[in-house]
Amino acid sequence: MGTVLSGFSSIFSFQVLSSLGIGVLLGVFVGALPGLTACMAVALLIPITFWLPPSAGLAMLIGVYNSAIFAGGISAILINTPGTPASIASTFDGYKLVKKGFVALAVWINTFYSVLGGVFGAIMLVIAAFPIAKFALKFGPAEYSALALFGLSMMISVSGKSVVKGLIAGFLGLAITTIGLDPTYAVPRFSFGSPYLLAKISFLPIMIGLFGIGEILDQVITPLMKSNVEEINGKKQKGFLNLKEIWQTKIAVLYACIVSVFIGAIPGTGGDIAGIVSWDHCRRFSKQGKEYGKGSVEALAVTCASNNASLGGAMTTMLSLGIPGDAPTAILIGALMMYGYIPGPMLFRDHTDMVAVIVALMFVAYLFIAIVGFLGTKVFSRLLKFPRPWINLAVFCFSLVGAYALNNSALDIMVCLIAGIVGFIFRRTGFPLGPVIIALILGPIAEENIIRALLLARGDAMVFLTRPISLILIIASLLSLFLVPILNKLMERKEKQKIL
């Protein structure tokens, strides 16, 4: 604890705090724009931070990383387009809450619970770095496969009314992931000789197209009814939760944060998986589960907290093992090495002061995010007051920019447009988008790791059942697929009988 406090004292200099502030503001800008990711922002800042002292440079990078994840929720909530992949789950309820007219409340929830989740993640980094890292190290191909299958089983949960349509959407997403080089054998599949398809279709342009372009095209047909903002923003809508309402979300949010820290610690997973898994779990077990997906306050709180809590897990793995938890932490490892620090167990032994600085920066970054977020609540919520054509053009413009900026490929823009048309058709015909995104994220992980696990086990499929973590995840998948819905129906029948 004394070491952490010494970290705080080290960062309270004008240069470090101003670097942190600049990073936070840049992160808000990048995170809120669909298509511009935290990874991109961190990478773009590396050349600038090279000239800064280590504390100041890391302050800027950590500031942009943390605030980009927070800000991704703003566009997810306001325009149903995740600013970063980590905010995908926030679209399930955030946008619906805004459509009901609770704009300021939704933005406030994003800020409050993002800070709460982020601080929780930072606390877990302090107290449980090595145990979490040890847990993450136990994940081999069989465990990754089981985790991916567990996540894929959630396609049913996010399907809404029609499970058949949800599964069709999901399997179409899985079909897209088979295009390109096979991950294990490097055999070209369905590329038709195109170098672009051979390199696999990027997930990000599809996400931007489905959510951003697709939403705007849908609004061309059915303009969004202007919410009665004046009436709701008057005395009736308070635009925040009181202590009692916050307290009511404690169990769901705490559970989401704990699960997300562990998921974030697993290399290759991030806030996107953490958010979806947390949302699904809480939907099944919460008393308010029926409201999830319809603009539930608790559901939005869960997703906002979870995708920020996962950062703590990712940083834990990065610092204690030197293994990146996600793409931005991979770049942060590069930044640390640039300053002469090698992440891993030796970092804790030989450079405890630097670890303390990083931990302190995470806490102070969330303080800055809280200031920007709460001060900006009115600004963010008033963005929707602009004329609809201007907002639509802005989303179109940023979507195209974001799709291009990823790989500097104009073909990604074409993919984005096609995905937008598909997204529009899905919206018009009752097909959910959630399963597509889940499939795009988890499909490659499932395929690659199932085959790898079988190769390592020389074809013995029992490997998935003999490894404890894999077995637990498979059982959890089966339980959530079959047992929980049956139990829920039994509970409903009992309640109906009581009423009669």
Partner: protein, 148 residues
């Protein structure tokens, strides 16, 4: 009334068949008991075919209406088609580096914002110019990408 579910079930069924056919051109597994590159496409194809049949059965039981007759003749749908058309032209011009990026973007954004419903000339020109300059600046100065 347009039978959307019927059309989609047929399309998905055909996609499943195509995917399955495509997977037959891929090599099977190289080690005993280990799936090859053809395995996952086949599983997905099989699932798509089954799901298409289930959707068809669902359509037989309850014929839900998603698109009313005359939908394709509405002004909104025509606007939608124009948006897609002009966006395609813009992207193709970008790919083939036809014209100047700034001018292309200004023309494109002007048309798009008009189709979105903005009719005031001054606002169309100023906002389109603003977005064009922002896009150009972002690509050339921030991402260091050369544009015409």
């Amino acid at each position: 009334m347009i039978n959307v579910d019927l059309i989609i079930s047929i399309v998905v069924f055909l996609l499943g068949i195509l995917l399955y056919y495509g997977s037959t051109t891929l090599p099977a597994g190289f080690s005993p008991g280990v799936p090859g590159p053809d395995f996952f496409p086949r599983v997905i194809a099989f699932c798509l075919i089954v799901l298409a049949i289930l959707l068809f059965i669902r359509w037989l039981r309850k014929k839900e209406i998603y698109l009313e007759k005359g939908f394709f003749k509405t002004k909104a749908f025509k606007n939608l088609l124009f948006i897609i058309l002009f966006t395609t032209i813009y992207v193709v011009a970008w790919i083939y580096e036809a014209g100047a990026f700034l001018i292309n973007s200004f023309i494109y954004f002007s048309i798009i914002i008009y189709l979105f419903g903005e009719k005031r000339i001054f606002q169309i020109i100023s906002i389109s110019a603003g977005f064009s300059i922002f896009t150009f600046y972002f690509f050339t100065r921030i991402l260091h990408i050369l544009l015409e």
